[in-house]
Amino acid sequence: MDKLQAIVDQYQKVPGGLIEAFHAVQDEYAYIPEEALRRLAKAFEVPLARAYGIASFYSYLSLKPRGQYIIRICKSAPCHVKGAAEVVKTLEEELAIRMGETTPDQLFTLEFTECVGVCAETPVITINGEPYGDLTSAKVKEILAQYRQPQ
């Protein structure tokens, strides 16, 4: 894992940089593999259990493998009243998986999130951090189609 070494090298000297390093790992692998957790724990001189405790504290970080595109659905109150449940239903049906799962082709993962700060365009999802708002079932299908196209 050369990429991992590059991340370790980049962040090791940054005070308090462990969480930044976790972000970098996740940008690369879509989650934090055990190997990365071990290497970072060592580099930052914290016990593995502590590193695990930190990674698992933050909902943006995942210790479970995920798909290439992580779709997060906002379930906070403003999105909830504006039909987040409908968006969940469409996504689950279209991808034939349930919330929390990853499609068998490893393309999509569905997760809940709390507010992503795009609350004038409710309901909202993000795909790899990119927000999409004012969603309807039709719009969700269009967006998925874009991501399904081989790039």
């Binding site: 930052f44 906070s76 009243v81 409710t122």
Partner: protein, 419 residues
């Protein structure tokens, strides 16, 4: 009809946020230059005189906070810009950073000069990766112009800024949890005192201010404390950005003097309730804010007026709820938020938020009893009294105010059940 007054959003949509030249042409970094020609204590005094209070929710006087840090001798001090913005329904800090990143950097640099800090951190929530990029670009440009980093303005003051990304934990908006997170740890709050102003990041004196607070500072330096003090409510002067969400005709935002009323926000700026429906409630301050009825809409939205009616100003998020919405269902959603976001450090909040959610869900399903409602109220009282930090103290606010102002939906749901 109320008019907007833009201070923190003064350049929003008017300049290219990715071009420092544009900011400079609009008078950018002039306030910093002006500040550097005065002694630091004079800057702290100006912020005090302006009456600027924190826009992150607690409303602490910024000048007083800066004064503590100025007076605490230390080789290293820090400025932290709190850009965690986790309160659902809130996106004001995003607007500021998106539209005018240099304004935030300038505010931080002025704060740094005033208290004697040479290093600043922006703790930006992980949900805003596109903002993090923009901020980093702005910092690069400011360094190239010699405005940040070493040797600036031929003065011997130097100030640099680093951006750190949060990772999806609401509690990290609380200033001491934020500091823990910046240090690379779990974001669990510390006990106060000591306050960050005296012992914060890596034990050093640290000013933590919200984005919107810092974004008001250049204006105050440019126009003077008196000019700022005269805007809006006298005890909470200046402007505030409100974000309008939910069942409002025009979702969006406005920056207005702080004596604006809730009615003006919902009807003048928001265009009233969407679809010609009737208003049921407004929740002011974000998900930890109070639910208020139509009869309180003429209350000014400033911090003290809101507190006087048992409400909150909080982040300035205004959620409009129309007559068709099921408040019990909304209560379950809100309780689920706090259950998820409780950091787990203290029992009243860890267990309290869990039980709150469980009981409300039970009531929502029509399986709750009168006894459950009573347990709920007792539980919430304990949480407000015994929790370790603000999350546990305020998590009950939305539910308590729902029960106070809108008891019927809850009573009806439990009355259908014997026992």
């Amino acid at each position: 009809m109320r008019e907007e007054k833009r201070i923190s959003l003064k350049h929003y949509g008017l300049i290219d946020p990715d071009q420092i030249e544009d900011y400079l042409e609009h008078g950018g970094y002039q306030s910093l230059q002006k500040a550097l020609s005065q002694p630091p204590a004079a800057i702290v005094q100006a912020v005090k005189d302006a009456g600027l209070r924190g826009r992150g929710g607690a409303g602490f006087k910024a000048g007083i906070k800066w004064g503590f840090t100025l007076q605490t001798p230390a080789e290293q001090k820090y400025i932290i810009c709190n850009a965690d913005e986790g309160e659902p329904g809130t996106f004001k800090d995003r607007l500021i950073m998106e539209g005018d990143p240099h304004l935030v950097l300038e505010g931080m640099a002025i704060a740094g000069y005033a208290v004697g800090a040479s290093k600043g951190y922006i703790y930006c929530r992980g949900e805003y990766p596109y903002i993090v990029k923009r901020l980093k670009r702005a910092i690069e440009q400011a360094r190239e112009k010699g405005l940040l980093g070493t040797n600036r303005f031929e003065s011997n003051f130097s100030f640099d800024v680093e951006v750190r990304m949060g990772a999806g934990a609401y509690i990290c908006g609380e200033e001491t949890a934020l500091i823990e997170s910046l240090e690379g740890k779990r974001g669990e709050p510390r006990s106060k005192p000591p306050f960050p102003g005296v012992a914060g990041l890596w034990g050093k004196p640290t000013v933590v201010n919200n984005v919107e607070t810092l974004a008001a500072v250049p204006w105050i330096i440019e126009h003077g404390a008196t000019a700022y003090q005269q805007i809006g409510a006298s005890r909470y002067p200046g402007t505030k950005i409100f974000t309008l969400t939910g069942d409002v005709a025009r979702k969006g935002f406005c920056e207005v003097p702080t004596d604006v009323t809730l009615r003006e926000l919902v009807y003048d700026f928001g265009g009233g309730v969407a679809g010609g429906k009737k208003l049921q409630a407004v929740q002011v301050g974000g998900t930890s804010g109070a639910f208020l009825p139509e009869s309180l809409l003429d209350t000014p939205a400033d911090l003290d007026s809101m507190a006087a009616v048992g409400g909150t100003l909080g982040s300035g998020a205004v959620l409009v709820v129309d007559e068709t919405r099921d408040l019990v269902d909304l209560a379950v959603t809100i309780a689920s938020f706090f259950k998820h976001e409780s950091c787990g450090k203290c029992t009243p909040c860890r267990e309290g938020t869990f039980q709150l959610h469980r009981l409300l869900e039970k009531i929502s399903r029509g399986q709750g009893s009168r006894q459950d409602l009573e347990t709920l109220e007792r539980l919430m009282w304990i949480m407000t009294q015994a929790s370790f930090c603000g999350l546990g103290h305020t998590a009950p606010t939305p539910i308590l105010t729902m029960l106070q102002y809108f008891p019927d939906p809850f009573n009806n749901r439990v009355n259908s059940q014997a026992g």
